[in-house]
């Protein structure tokens, strides 16, 4: 299980930059590590979510050649928050998962933008929101919900008495 978790976190971080482009639709790619971190945090709590977010984000930063620590911090915060709130949320329904992931992705994007602003990131907020953050958030919402449903189905199949 630990191996799987490690592969999920570390592989997700690196895979995003490499295979994420294959999932690109109309020049919008999903943030796979964020989805993985959210799913893991919901199941394993804030501590694991925070660590997973940090590891995945750091690898993502390194893999994409950006500033080291930006995504590591935002994803760590998201992982922590979701891990902490997970016990109080009912997240088994797609009607919750899709908007939830969209909202989280938006928050992560805004946090990343805010953090980069501290370090004099030059991109305009309007364009970034319109063409990067919102489309990616929507994509994350639907992809994450599909992933949750697929996992639920796999678990149901596995737990079915043979």
């Amino acid at each position: 299980m630990r191996t799987f978790l490690a592969i999920a976190v570390l592989g997700g971080g690196v895979a995003h930059a490499t295979v994420g482009s294959a999932l690109r639709i109309a020049d919008v790619a999903p943030d796979i590590p964020l989805i993985v971190v959210v799913l893991l945090a919901l199941r394993r709590g804030p501590e694991f979510g925070c660590g997973a977010g940090f590891a995945a984000g750091l690898l993502q930063d390194a893999a994409t050649g950006g500033l080291l620590g930006v995504q590591a911090l935002t994803k760590a915060v998201i992982g922590f928050a979701i891990g902490a709130l997970g016990e109080r949320l009912t997240v088994s329904q797609p009607l919750v998962q899709v908007p939830g992931l969209v909202l989280l992705s938006l928050l992560e994007g805004l946090a990343r933008f805010g953090l980069l602003q501290l370090f004099h990131f030059p991109a305009p907020f309007g364009g970034l929101l319109m063409y990067v953050i919102v489309p990616q958030a929507l994509y994350n919402g639907f992809l994450g919900a599909a992933l949750v449903l697929a996992l639920a189905w796999a678990e149901a199949v596995r737990s079915r008495p043979s």
Binding site: G11, C50, A63, L67, G69, A72, L73, L115
Partner: protein, 278 residues
């Protein structure tokens, strides 16, 4: 538990901010390099997997495209084939009409072109229906010819059409002679759709396979010299008074589409208007 998590978050946030600050000052190259040592091999493997997966996907898409292209090309090929058939048909018709026109212009007779609109090929009767009738002043027993030779005669004139009794009709008989030997006889149709050259004198006939038989012009119905056919077999009846020969018709009655009706002055020999080698 909550405190531990908060502490972890604090440490992570501190590390990240420190990393960012150090990067902005340009003094964290070592950390990035160290991370690259971990990420680069993983990225390389993933890129290979990605390329292989995309390769399979690309092959699948190519295959789909090829199928679509194949279907499109097949449809286009079918359309072009139909078009080619149409062109061939038009070309053949053009060729036929040119031959008919050439014949019409070379004949020293009054003629009227007609188009075959029906065929009766049952065996009892062998006839063609031509789109010239009473309105065109077509007379009964008018001779009908084609560029290849004699077709037959009009036996029934109707309002907008006429029925042509072709040479192979069992009731048809035409005076004829062999071009090479001038041997006279009568060409009659047979129920099986062939022609028979009858009443040739046994002595002095001297027919050979391939001899051309033309209309004799005797009887006043057909001009002389119109090709009827070529001798296919000679039926020697031994002591019989006459010899017989099977003749292959010069005209393919099953395929003919246009004809000329000889409407006047039929007593002249028209052999010169037909291409024949003997």
């Amino acid at each position: 538990m909550r405190i531990r998590a908060l502490a972890l978050l604090g440490i992570i946030a501190g590390v990240c901010l420190l990393l960012l600050t150090l990067q902005m000052r340009g003094s964290v190259g070592g950390a990035a390099d160290a991370l690259a040592v971990v990420t680069t091999p993983v990225q390389t493997v993933l890129a290979r997997i990605n390329r292989a997966t995309l390769g399979v996907w690309g092959t699948y898409r190519d295959w789909k495209n090829v199928r679509v292209e194949n279907r499109r090309l097949r449809e286009e090929s079918q359309r072009l084939r139909v078009e080619a058939l149409r062109v061939t048909e038009t070309d053949a018709e053009n060729h036929r009409l040119r031959r008919l026109l050439t014949l019409k212009e070379s004949l020293p007779l009054e003629t009227m072109a007609g188009e075959i609109i029906a065929r009766e090929w049952g065996g009892w009767v062998r006839s063609l229906t031509v789109n010239r009738g009473r309105g065109d002043a077509v007379a009964r027993l008018t001779a009908v010819i084609a560029p290849d030779g004699l077709v037959g005669r009009i036996v029934d004139v109707r309002t907008g059409s006429s029925v042509v009794q072709v040479l192979t009709d069992p009731a048809s008989s035409v005076g004829a002679h062999v071009v090479r030997t001038r041997t006279p006889g009568v060409i009659e149709g047979e129920p099986r759709g062939t022609l028979r050259f009858k009443y040739m004198p046994r002595d002095g006939g001297g027919l050979q396979i391939g001899d051309l038989v033309v209309s004799s012009g005797l009887g006043g119905l057909f001009p002389g010299g119109i090709p009827i056919g070529r001798v296919r077999t000679i039926d020697d009846r031994g002591s019989a008074l006459f010899n017989y020969a099977q003749v292959t018709p010069a005209v393919d009655f099953a395929r003919i589409d246009e004809v000329l009706l000889l409407t006047g002055g039929i007593m002249r020999d028209v052999a010169a208007s037909f291409k024949s080698d003997g």
